[in-house]
């Protein structure tokens, strides 16, 4: 019985609060010492700001559920990533030029822009 209670503790950990916009875009923020501030029509939390009318919902998650165009360093891509251009052609890291690509990692899929 005690162990079951202990297991529950591990299952209750939600390190992310994920915001979902009306267009389906998701953005997760860490729940560590999180403060959400509303100023007029804007909700701000950490580095993220949301227009209140664009917010659909929010929920606690165990992983980062962020979607949408995201800036990442080129070096963050690994050989295991599957990369596609917007026409659906699979490309290699070396073939990537300036433009928008879909990158599938082990955990999630990103839409990235190469500048």
């Amino acid at each position: 019985m005690f162990c079951a209670g202990l297991t529950a503790v591990m299952a209750e950990d939600y390190p992310y609060l994920t915001f979902e916009l009306t267009d389906g875009t998701k953005a997760s923020v860490s729940t560590a010492s999180l403060t959400l501030t509303m100023n007029g029509t804007t909700l701000t939390t950490g580095s993220q700001s949301f227009t209140l009318t664009n917010l659909s919902k929010m929920y606690f998650t165990k992983t980062d559920m962020s979607t949408g165009i995201k800036s990442i360093e080129n070096g963050e891509l690994t050989i295991d990533n599957e990369i596609y251009d917007l026409q659906g052609h699979k490309v290699t890291k070396a073939q990537m030029k300036k433009g928008v690509y879909i990158v599938k990692t082990k955990d999630k899929t990103y839409k990235i822009a190469v500048k």
Partner: protein, 623 residues
Amino acid sequence: MKKIYTLLTALMLTIAAVGQTLNVKVGNITYQFPAAQTGDMTYADGQTLTIMGKAFSLSDISAMTVDNTEVTDNLVSIAYNGASATVTVAGNVAQYVTPTINGAYVSIAQSNTNAVDNDEITYQLSGTATDGQFALSGSYKCTVSLAGVDLTCGTGAAINITNGKRIQLSVKNGTTNTLTDCANGSQKACLYSKGQMQMQGKGTLNVVGNTKHGIKSGDYITVKNLTLNITKAVGDGINCEEYFQMKSGTVTISGVGDDGIQCDLSGTTSTGETADHEDEDSGNVYLEGGTLKVTVTAAASKGVKADGDMTVSDGDITITTTGNGAYDSDEQDAKGCCGLKADGNMTISGGTLTLKSTGTGGKCIKADNVLTISGGTISATATGSQYKYSSSITASPKAIKGGTKTAVSNAPGGGGGPGGGGGRDNTQYTYSGGIVITGGTIYAKSTNHEAIESKATLSISGGYVYAEAGDDAINSASDFTITNGYVMGNSSGNDGLDANGNFYIKGGNVFAVASRQPEVGIDANTEGGYKLYITGGNVAAIGGLENSSSLSGVTSKSVSYSKGSWYTLKSGSTAAFSFKVPSNNSMGTSMTICTPSTPSVTSQSSAPSGTTIWNGYGVVATD
């Protein structure tokens, strides 16, 4: 084993609560939503945010944070701090709770009509408010937990619960709580609950009622475990309807302007006592344990008053009344104070009762119908004189009184019945109730009037009864029957034992002491055509027996005695009891003894060994 499970369950709940919590702050109200419970929290039109069914206007939200605060489901905490208060609401009940805070005045509307997560909502009060209140409305049962709160209200009741359902008022262990209401207000009590109130917990609650009652419930009140001190009330200390039940704990009531505890019938027809008191509306009082100490001083006030019946089965009960009698304009009669008063029946089967009444017309125990004593230890002392509103409207002090004698007509030439005194009174009477003693140890003393008086029949079939009075020690307005037990009537101003009807002694052990001639030890209403019948028992009577007594199966004789000396009454060679002749009589030097076999007495220079009874005037062989 139960404790272990409880501990493990509590541990699990505590551990399960650790995790992220979203705190939504609206002014001084914080709603706490555990991450594991929230699910989708939806925004609508940039105007509202709904979390677990609770809709917030975004413009009302002053802050939102996430931390690791532990949240106890179903708990609403109210913390008072001087002239302000804060409220914290557990997320799982947020949608059902609407708090309003104005300074330290906290008002909560509860909307659920069923249990939330299989439990009820608990409101926990703490802190100090110099001018504040807790008000609660709703239509489902809940708990109000006092966890160290000192609440003074300047405009009404300190706690005002208009939720008509069952309220559990829990006084948290180890805490001291004080409630004080305003003076000259319109509130019914300092602590008011429209619905049933179960008072419990192992903490202390002090109540100061400055306008009317200390505590008032529109339904029943039960008391268990807690220490309750009512130090002031303009009206009653506790006033409730349906029934009052004290199971345990310590209740002390003083400084009240009316009764200590009063229980009224809520409707117009009594249900009588029901199984487990389910849906009971009886006006009954049940004293079943704990320590109850009541002091009342107002004219004609009662220590504990039942509109219906009263049952005393256990507990340590001390009641003192000091007020004088008063005229009751509703009943057009004179009323005295009383320690324990039942408009219906009263049953005493256990407990230790110490009752004292000092005012004019004051009584210690009174049941308008049947008073039954089967156990317990009772000490009842009435020291007042008669209250006279007019020459014909009076209230006489008694230690113990039962039954009702009602005049129904004035028939010229009528015999008048047992209470009529023969041809001296033509009034016809009806008799209801009376006194039945089957056990217990009773000390009853009335300085100026009867110590024990039945306004109807009186029967004693067990127990140890000592009655001492300035009038008849024990009097029955109708027939008086003794079949067993030990009975002593010690009068300093009239008969020892007196029946206005027939007097039957069929068994038991009786010692009666009359005061002076022409009174007798044991009297019956011979003038009214009634008689003393002795067919059994062991009897010693200072002042003798009624002249026309009928003795059958017993033998009597007159023996000499000396005041202050000890004697052992024997029936044949069998000792019945030993007794000491009081020094307060002027009956000469001979007494009548009567036993089934040849009666005799032997004198002793001091009390023989054995069990002392009758306030030290008797000794019986120890079993």
